[in-house]
Symmetry: C2
Subunit: 669 residues, 2 copies
Amino acid sequence: MRQLLDVTPIATESSDATSASALQRRTYEEVLVMGQSMPLALLRLAPSQAVSVRLDVRGEVEVSALETKQLVPLGVSLPLTQIPERVYLLARTFSDELRDRSLEVTFFNVNNRELTSYKLLLTVLQICLDVDANRDGIVDENNPHKADWKWGADGYGAILLVNSDQDIDYSDDKQDLDDYRINGLLDFKDFSFLVIRRIGPRDLPSGCELRLSVNRETSRRIRIFDELDRSSGHELIGPGRRDATIRDTEQDLVLAVEGLHYPDIDFDGLVKIDLTLSCEHEQVYKDQVMFRVAPWIMTPNTLAPKTVYICRLEDKSNRKLIEELRKIVGKAKAQLEVVPPSSNQGDRWMQDEIEIGYTQAPGKLMYVVLDSPRNRGLDDFPEERLLGPNFGLVTRESRERANKLDSFGNLEVSPPVSVNGVNYPLGRIVFGGTRPEITEDRRRMMKVVRDFLYAQQVQAPIEVFSDWLSVGHIDEFMTFVPAPTAKGFKLILTSADQSYTILKQLESDGYGKAILREGKYFSRGRKADITVSEVLDDKTLARQNRRFQEFINWNREVLKQELGLTEGDIIDLPALFEDDGEGRAETFSPDMVNMIVLGKHLVIPKPYGPKVKGECQFEAYVKRVLEPLGLICHFLDDWEPYFRGRGEVHCGTNTRRVPFAQSWWEAFV
Amino acid sequence: MRQLLDVTPIATESSDATSASALQRRTYEEVLVMGQSMPLALLRLAPSQAVSVRLDVRGEVEVSALETKQLVPLGVSLPLTQIPERVYLLARTFSDELRDRSLEVTFFNVNNRELTSYKLLLTVLQICLDVDANRDGIVDENNPHKADWKWGADGYGAILLVNSDQDIDYSDDKQDLDDYRINGLLDFKDFSFLVIRRIGPRDLPSGCELRLSVNRETSRRIRIFDELDRSSGHELIGPGRRDATIRDTEQDLVLAVEGLHYPDIDFDGLVKIDLTLSCEHEQVYKDQVMFRVAPWIMTPNTLAPKTVYICRLEDKSNRKLIEELRKIVGKAKAQLEVVPPSSNQGDRWMQDEIEIGYTQAPGKLMYVVLDSPRNRGLDDFPEERLLGPNFGLVTRESRERANKLDSFGNLEVSPPVSVNGVNYPLGRIVFGGTRPEITEDRRRMMKVVRDFLYAQQVQAPIEVFSDWLSVGHIDEFMTFVPAPTAKGFKLILTSADQSYTILKQLESDGYGKAILREGKYFSRGRKADITVSEVLDDKTLARQNRRFQEFINWNREVLKQELGLTEGDIIDLPALFEDDGEGRAETFSPDMVNMIVLGKHLVIPKPYGPKVKGECQFEAYVKRVLEPLGLICHFLDDWEPYFRGRGEVHCGTNTRRVPFAQSWWEAFV
């Protein structure tokens, strides 16, 4: 409640300065914010002899009773008893000149003689901080939801991209967000906008200023740039700069904003920005907007492939495989991008070093690679060959030493699912960890990576059990393939049981002498050939596989529950494991589940199963269960370059896929 | 059909150069475009003694029969009789190294002796020119509709904005599009994008180049900029530059495109851009994209007002009106922007100098003022005070001298209508002209302006008859107000008949002495007072008004037909006209139809009609017919500053309104 009596008037005029009963006319100056009521303790101004008062207004200003909201009559003398104790002033239009409005309050005594007069000169300002809260790519004008967020197609709330790409060729691996300048026009495409609308008179009244500010936490998460009418832009807000004075302009001021960090355990992705109008160091008005920093999103196997990445090995051991793979990739209408030896340092495990996802804001789409903390020969590959214009990079590392579970063969995402009425329209992230009952030599994915995955929120992660595997990657026992069903996909699991069923049937049909892994070799020239009966007679192997099958079954139940699946949604593919000598599982033969899914084309490790009439019975089985889904099985021989290195062709490749058609802010509710 | 025999091989090897029957091995080099078949006249290569041929392929290349599409068997010798005469080569994946594929054709004689061998070394390139054909603000990847256009929510086709605003402060009235540079980041926001995707090997084979080109006509309509990774951008295509070589880059090349002209009589708004790959000066591949230049769109009275513009007159004659108007504008949640005398040169007719509309592309919205060729005192106002960041300007002028019908009081737009099953979701433009049967002293709106209006296409204009009015503006006899009906609006027409009905009723009720225009004056102190009976007794006035009423009726029928209206959609407001001495109509009293419509608030010229019990009977009538529609009538005294100058408050103002919620490309079908 404004107390004019406490403020020094800008002018005082007295009819008779020596007399105590002299008529006093005091003039004050005030700033009104358009549409914002200013309270005034009217009766507190009344001198003791006053019995009536007259209010005179010049220009578009309303005077109302604070409690009843009723307009106070103007230009007529009213008994003080009829005047509400507190009134408020409201202007609905801005001033086009300074002091173009006024309120004059004149008090009279019983003789209707003027006692005191207070004149309040008013300038009405319109200030407004705006963002694209309706997500159409255009900054709105005072959207009522500009400081708010709602998910869904009928939702609202502005969105910010993490400017994690590299739109100009820096001398090093620097990303656009590392720079406190806007680096060229391509860089600028990744920014969202803030508009400061100040229409009012062309100049602010003296002593008034506009400041933009954020809290300390937010200043680490974003940068805000001004002077976009120049070629570069000047940093107003950013790490170490929490607030800034807004320069005087005659027009709406457009500012550019970039995100610096993806959501994480200590950052929910929401940033608030304040615009404050102060006059004589007193805050007159504050406006606020909010952005949500767009999450990093993974792409499931059901999305169309664009590019498959594979390393060309110096020893040319995968040369033939590359050419075979290229043909399948071409049929899937995708591209094969071959990474030369100079960029892979002999590290063939392309799946493990990175996960290619994307991020998105209205009218903006950026592929973003999540670089794992694994950091082997391919460590520099994402920075050197993926990071670029519209291809961003993010990584999470800590002092913890990476273990095998930190490789991204251990990180996948399901197709869209609905679980007990909860929709996950972008699917759910699945990664492998350990089980609570395992107490020794436990391995989990690094905490900073897990925290990052959970913080993205829109693909609520599930941690399953992969620590039972020597290599410890979930791609060794599970994958997803598209299917013409209501759910749109099937979960594929490896199954030792399924292997034994097939092998036993073969033996009972008289094919006990059929050979698995025929003609293949392990290291030091050790032949891999083994007959069906030999496998079946191996009690140790059977016992090991029973144990491993239990772990698969445990995961099966978790996945059914967390992805809302039934048995009918799951397909078992035969695979055998053997103990690595330390109680963990290693694959016995090329592991078919560890496949590349490219639309309806499946690139499956050639299993070298037992043959009947020249036909591999594992391949025959797989075709029998997958072809009815419209899938095309390509069995690719990866024995030498990948299987013998304890991986498969899936581990040796990575796939960039078309993003979801639906935006994350509309899909996720 | 490629003829290898006509081309010089890059290498020739001969087993015995002196012998006529010597084995010849010729090596050629070719470029394949990914996904594009290359025909080859295989049998034309066969030497006369040949009876069989063998095709050997290295890398991902298919060889098929041109007619049957069947794959040709590879690596086996086939009788020439089994070989299709013409085959084609197809690669579905790009080369990651130069010459990573080959086709070898070897012919044999009856003794199966090798006769001739042709080796074709192949490099497969992927080039693609891309635009945002699905209109989500993001450039697509090879959208099948990228060179096409379809209206509607399920439509496609890329969109370009005319960069008609002024994002930096040039020293003169230059617009962004006048400059062959990108002027800062704000300027860049108005551009659309083209992406040239060239993935193939990092370097093009020597002798190959990529060119971007447009036809001569298109080069006048757009500018295309490269080098966006710098701070400015370099003009590749523009007036006088029809084609340009594309620089070598390792990544997708993003180019920025701006429109220079709105659609017009000689420009349908569609621009095509070609990307050509040539090797050794021979065109190998051409890709094409299309943009539609966004039209200029007008905003009907049913859209919410944002800003009302009015001139402050040097003589202060409209000072009171401005303050009254400001209060109404405030209630309508809009703003009043007062244009100082220095910017209006005493020209008060704000409605006539400009029409404020907008243009729009996905994620881009720009207000655009159409500056009329009228060019009186307000001529510089739009350039000096409206043109700015995100506020564009367009004008049409010709050698013709402007007449009164060229003022934009003569240009309005209807709310959305449906006429005989044809939807006009953005309404129809209405402007005034003459009638065919009038042969002398005809006036029409200037042809260049009419052509411009028709060319925008989405608000199909209607030319009505306003030449019967001395001032000649349609706002003198028609307007549209929002209404809670299925159509959402009512058409308001002036009616002399309605005036006479009211006046006759008043006389028969005994109010013949009631005074119209009471207490008002014309020039030179001539009193305007006139009684109801005096008006009714004036036979000349009655005859004139019967004639003018016929013209209004003619327009009524045209508007009913062209806007699909019934009598129930029309409201008649009383108004009288008198002959200006040259057979054209002038208003007799302030003309209520010439109102400002601000949401439900109507700013109506105070009519100074005859009073009964202190109440103006014209005002009473208007309230009776308009208030049931939820409209609030504010009668504003504009006699001195506007009516006496032959206009009303509507003529003295202009309104910027919120654009249509639906985009023009989705709405218009």
